[in-house]
């Protein structure tokens, strides 16, 4: 994106998984810019994925999904093999931000979700809340880490490292409205080519009020380990019910205590 990056505007990623080739340039660029050491190297024997998951050291993670049932269009077209560069979704209604007790998780001037490292005290409430398993605790700092959408680069007028490095433009960065437009065009093109399974995830407000980092998927969200709209609930949905049940129990408990402790006439 050649346009200048201005505070006050909404920015995000559009990750088009239909053209991801699984090269992991995004993972490398992210680690290099953000000075992430990465986890201990390991062999997961799971497709080409040896990263495993998003965590405090992996802020981009290319998922390889090869457990998809064969759906060959014609003979010679093998079974589907899906790749997706996963990242923090920078949700409009962010579960992590909702529960954070310290105010460490904020929405920046670029409308992204950012964890202030000097404010975070490592309580891990955001880890329990994030429905995408994005956030993890860095043992060395004792704070929660995740994708910053390259907050420092944005402040310097640069696009995030992963988008810059992506060789197929599967990852594009830009003003949210422009990305959404581009995604609609791409989806229409795929549908017109008969790729009926292509769908956008997080483009509209059905999951967490809309995602600043949204996706074009080649299967249903669950296949990629993403909650569908029916399962995308904010943690606070359980506040009223939880407290109400506790209140009823408290009233019954006090009543039981009164019955047991009340003054009695000696028999």
């Amino acid at each position: 994106m050649a346009t200048a990056i201005k505070p006050g505007e909404s920015y995000g990623f559009f990750t088009d998984t239909s053209i991801c080739i699984g090269c992991k340039a995004c993972e490398v660029a992210c680690k290099e810019w953000n000075q992430l050491q990465g986890d201990e190297p390991k062999f997961l024997a799971d497709s080409y994925d040896n990263t495993g998951q998003l965590d405090d050291q992996n802020w981009r993670h290319v998922k390889f999904i090869d457990e998809v049932p064969a759906q060959s269009v014609d003979s010679g077209n093998g079974k589907a093999w899906l790749m997706m560069s996963d990242v923090c979704k920078h949700c409009k209604h962010a579960s992590c931000m909702e529960v954070c007790p310290t105010g460490a998780i904020i929405r920046t001037e670029f409308d992204t979700v950012f964890i202030q490292q000097d404010v975070c005290n490592g309580c891990r409430n955001c880890v329990a809340a994030c429905p995408y398993s994005v956030i993890a605790i860095n043992a060395a700092t004792g704070t929660a880490h995740k994708c910053t959408l390259c907050y420092d680069r944005l402040q310097g007028g640069l696009q995030p490292a992963c988008a810059k490095a992506c060789p197929t433009q599967s990852i594009t960065f830009g003003p949210l409205a422009e990305l959404q437009q581009a995604a609609d065009v791409r989806l229409a093109a795929l549908h017109s080519q008969g790729v009926a399974q292509a769908q956008l995830y997080g483009r509209d407000d059905t999951v967490y009020g809309g995602l600043n980092a949204f996706f074009l998927l080649m299967d249903k969200p669950e296949t990629y380990g993403l909650p569908n709209a029916a399962n995308a609930g904010l943690p606070s949905r359980n506040n009223v019910g939880g407290y109400l049940a506790a209140l009823v129990t408290a009233v019954l408990g006090v009543f039981a205590g009164v019955v047991a402790f009340r003054r009695r006439t000696e028999s």
Binding site: S95, G103, C120, A140, T143, P235, N238, Y243, A260
Partner: protein, 305 residues
């Protein structure tokens, strides 16, 4: 379509420190609430047992901030960020009524003051061998406010688990209720246990055991509701590996109910006989109940992780 809630969330690794905290939070809140009730609706002869409750509440309180701070790991020195938002340019008190962890941090802080004052009062009264609690109506009001806070404190930890996107925890509304009922039951067990170290509180022992039985019934009902809700959500299978812990929790409830049967049958008899009978039973009730309180929390905490 999926009947069950689907979860792709990572576990927060709230383990042993948090288990300990949940245990002591239940006892701290429960003991304060029971002590307040004894003072308000009980006989003047229940006052020694009430003081016992205030002491027990204070003892349990001490562990709470220590365990919570230790749980923060390398960030332990930033524990006070729970109360004060240090965001540059936006510094101030941090309070989010919709985040149970935020509310709970404030509850611990404020209840801590109430518990400490009440324990000091009990100590002061014991030293002066005074039977009458301090402060008259104001003193009672203080206890009532503290008691309400205590009931909140004993229950919010369960709500905190539910206000997440974790399997089991976020699939039910019953965790706050469950922790409260078991916290009250555990507190009654603890107070019953402690009466042996304070002869003048033995008068209240059979009442504490009676309350203990009621709380155990309450806990059993809530436990059934808890299982119904997670079965409906389709995540009950995740708690199956915890069945030994659930059994221990159930054994605590059973011990309390079995003892209550024998105990209540004896009530019409001579008072000394009742007390003698109850005294021999206290260990057999209190220990399984307290172990059950711990096991119940462990079962809940480790079901999601």
């Amino acid at each position: 379509m999926y009947l069950a809630a689907e979860h792709f969330v990572r576990a927060p690794q709230w383990t042993w420190y948090i288990l300990g905290y949940f245990f002591f939070a239940g006892l701290c809140g429960g003991c304060y609430a029971l002590a307040t009730l004894l003072r308000l609706v009980g006989d003047p002869r229940d006052e020694p047992a009430a003081r016992l409750g205030f002491y027990a509440s204070f003892a349990a309180l001490i562990f709470c901030p220590i365990l919570l701070t230790a749980d923060l790991g390398a960030s332990w020195s930033k524990f006070w960020h729970m109360l004060i938002d240090v965001t540059p340019g936006d510094t101030g008190l941090s309070f989010k009524y919709w985040s149970p962890m935020s509310v709970g941090a404030w509850a611990l802080f404020i209840l801590g003051l109430f518990v400490t004052v009440s324990a000091l009062e009990a100590y002061w009264l014991d030293r002066r061998k005074s039977a009458q609690p301090l402060g008259g109506v104001a003193g009672r009001a203080f206890n009532i406010v503290g008691g309400v806070l205590a009931l909140f404190f004993a229950s919010y930890t369960g709500v905190l688990l539910s206000v997440s996107n974790q399997p089991v925890w976020s699939d039910t509304w019953m965790l706050g209720a469950l922790f409260l009922a078991s916290g009250l039951s555990g507190s009654a067990a603890l107070m019953a246990l402690l009466t042996r170290y304070r002869p003048d509180s033995v008068f209240t022992l059979d009442r504490i055991l009676e309350a203990e039985a009621y709380f155990s019934i309450l806990e059993l009902v809530v436990l059934v509701l808890f299982f119904i809700t997670i079965i409906a959500a389709g995540t009950a299978g995740r708690t199956l590996p915890m069945f030994l812990l659930w059994l221990i929790a159930l054994a605590g409830i059973a011990a309390s109910l079995v003892a209550a049967r024998g105990h209540l049958r004896l009530l019409p008899g001579g008072r000394s006989a009742v007390i003698a009978r109850a005294t021999t039973n206290v260990l057999a009730v209190a220990i399984p109940v307290l172990v059950g309180v711990l096991a119940l929390r462990a079962a809940v905490i480790f079901s999601a992780q």
